[in-house]
């Protein structure tokens, strides 16, 4: 990559796998799981977080020398809240149905721990360009997990992807359903998301033993 030095590239690539915000840092689970029953909602949520975290990190990083440390939490909350309002208004204007599906979870991006966590841990101590890369990287890491979870839940739960049937028609018994396959309604209910994330963590840590926690 000519545009990015190796160090800068690592800022983006690390959070995608070995320092993933959800599976390793345990941040941002709050607003992530409830909306992953459909792939489309997961994708929109991921894009919103990429926007908020990328821009927010730059703003905080630019202001890092003028924010008094005592009131930094409130300043950070205001910055995030402003960005989230923008996202919310854009969604309401251009994707009204989807904004109804996401309901309060757009607002909950404000208290998404990834955002506060990255502000605290990175943007307050680094320049704008680095913070931007870090923000995008972490938000991408978050988005990847969201999309994986959304993919499996929608595929096994409803037999669709982005609302398009991919496994055949469950009522007319075509495609895979002709062989006696049934949709697993269990994947649609909220607790299934937790179990899917648990399994992702399991797979990831089995592949990379360095990530295993001490008991």
């Amino acid at each position: 990559m000519a545009l990015l030095s190796k160090k800068d590239a690592n800022l983006i690539l690390d959070p995608l796998a070995d320092n993933n915000p959800i599976t390793i840092q345990v941040l941002g689970i709050c607003s992530a799981l409830a909306i992953t029953a459909e792939l489309k909602a997961s994708l929109v949520m991921a894009i919103s977080v990429i926007f908020v975290l990328g821009v927010g990190n730059v703003v905080i990083s630019l202001m890092r020398n003028v924010i008094p440390s005592k009131i930094r939490i409130i300043v950070q909350l205001i910055v995030v809240a402003t960005l989230v309002i923008i996202v919310d208004q854009v969604l309401k204007a251009f994707a009204y149905e989807l904004s109804k599906t996401l309901s309060v979870f757009v607002g909950l991006i404000i208290t998404n721990c990834i955002i506060m966590g990255r502000f605290e841990a990175f943007a307050l101590g680094n320049g704008p360009w680095k913070s931007f890369l870090d923000g995008i990287g972490n938000a991408l890491g978050y988005g990847v997990i969201l999309i994986i979870v959304g993919f499996f839940r929608e595929l096994f739960g409803s037999g669709t992807l982005f609302g398009i049937p991919v496994l055949g028609d469950p009522i007319a018994k075509t495609g895979l359903y002709a062989t006696g396959y049934e949709n697993n309604g269990f994947m649609i209910i909220p607790p299934a998301a937790l179990i899917v994330v648990g399994i992702i963590i399991w797979v990831q840590r089995s592949r990379n033993k360095a990530l295993i926690e001490e008991a």
Binding site: D88, L108, G185, L194, R205, E213, A215
Partner: protein, 246 residues
């Protein structure tokens, strides 16, 4: 009275903050290693929810809702400031948390010592903002009910973190597969507990609930079978996990 009772049980069990809508998961996972600290954080969440939800209800009613400003005079009836809710709610919460911290420190140092370290954490706990946003989305009609909603969802969250902390204390003595240790197993147990809590769904069958859509029937039966197999105490959750491993 009946509506208070209904909302109370509904928010604790059916719409449990953790198991139904995944609110406050970050601190739920991070602070649930010991029962004692979990109780401290849980108590602080109940307290802050009980204060902020009614406060934000007032803000919503008299400032933010479509036409809420009409009490200022008829010329203000057209204003709709609801797009400001996020920023106002979070500002209220952050301020209240600071205020509560100062007040508790002044008047009850012992309570401050046990809650103190958790209070700043709470400002960014999704359960708190989520409580206010759900209060707004569900259009809770009165101040009393808003207070009730705040307290009861706090209690629901408290119960959830208490249960997971107790399970995690026990699970330390179990032979969990190495890659699942810590975070992974906590996720799976929370999922299993969530399935258990789904069974409360039939507890209140109010007349105002819409009938189940037909295509959900297969999902329902599978879910019910799961629930029958579901086990609420921790040893069985562990053995279930061992079955998965095999």
């Amino acid at each position: 009275m009946l509506e208070h009772l209904e909302l109370f049980f509904k928010s604790i069990f059916i719409d449990n903050m953790v198991f139904a809508v995944f609110l406050g998961m970050c601190s739920y996972l991070a602070v649930s290693k010991k029962v004692a600290t979990a109780v401290g954080l849980g108590a602080a969440v109940i307290f802050v929810l009980a204060v902020t939800v009614p406060l934000n209800w007032l803000l919503d009613q008299y400032l933010l809702q479509d036409g809420a400003l009409v009490w200022l005079g008829p010329e203000y009836a057209d204003y709709n400031l609801s797009f400001l809710s996020f920023i106002l709610f979070i500002a209220t919460i952050a301020t209240m948390v600071q205020l509560v911290e100062i007040v508790v420190e002044k008047f009850s140092p012992s309570l401050y010592n046990s809650l103190g370290i958790f209070l700043p954490l709470i400002a960014v706990n999704c359960a708190i903002l989520g409580g206010s946003l759900f209060m707004q989305a569900r259009e809770i009609p009165t101040l009393g009910l808003a207070f009730n909603y705040g307290v009861s969802s706090g209690i629901g969250w408290f119960l959830a973190i208490l249960a997971i902390a107790a399970i995690r204390e026990k699970i330390r003595y179990s032979n969990v597969p190495a890659p699942l240790r810590g975070l992974g197993i906590t996720f799976i147990i929370t999922g299993l507990m969530g399935i258990g809590f789904q069974s409360f769904g039939g507890m209140l069958t109010g007349d105002n609930e819409a009938p189940e859509p037909v295509e959900n029937t297969t999902a329902k039966t599978i879910e019910e079978k799961e629930i029958k197999k579901e086990i609420e105490d921790e040893e069985k959750a562990v053995s279930y996990n061992e079955v998965i491993n095999k």
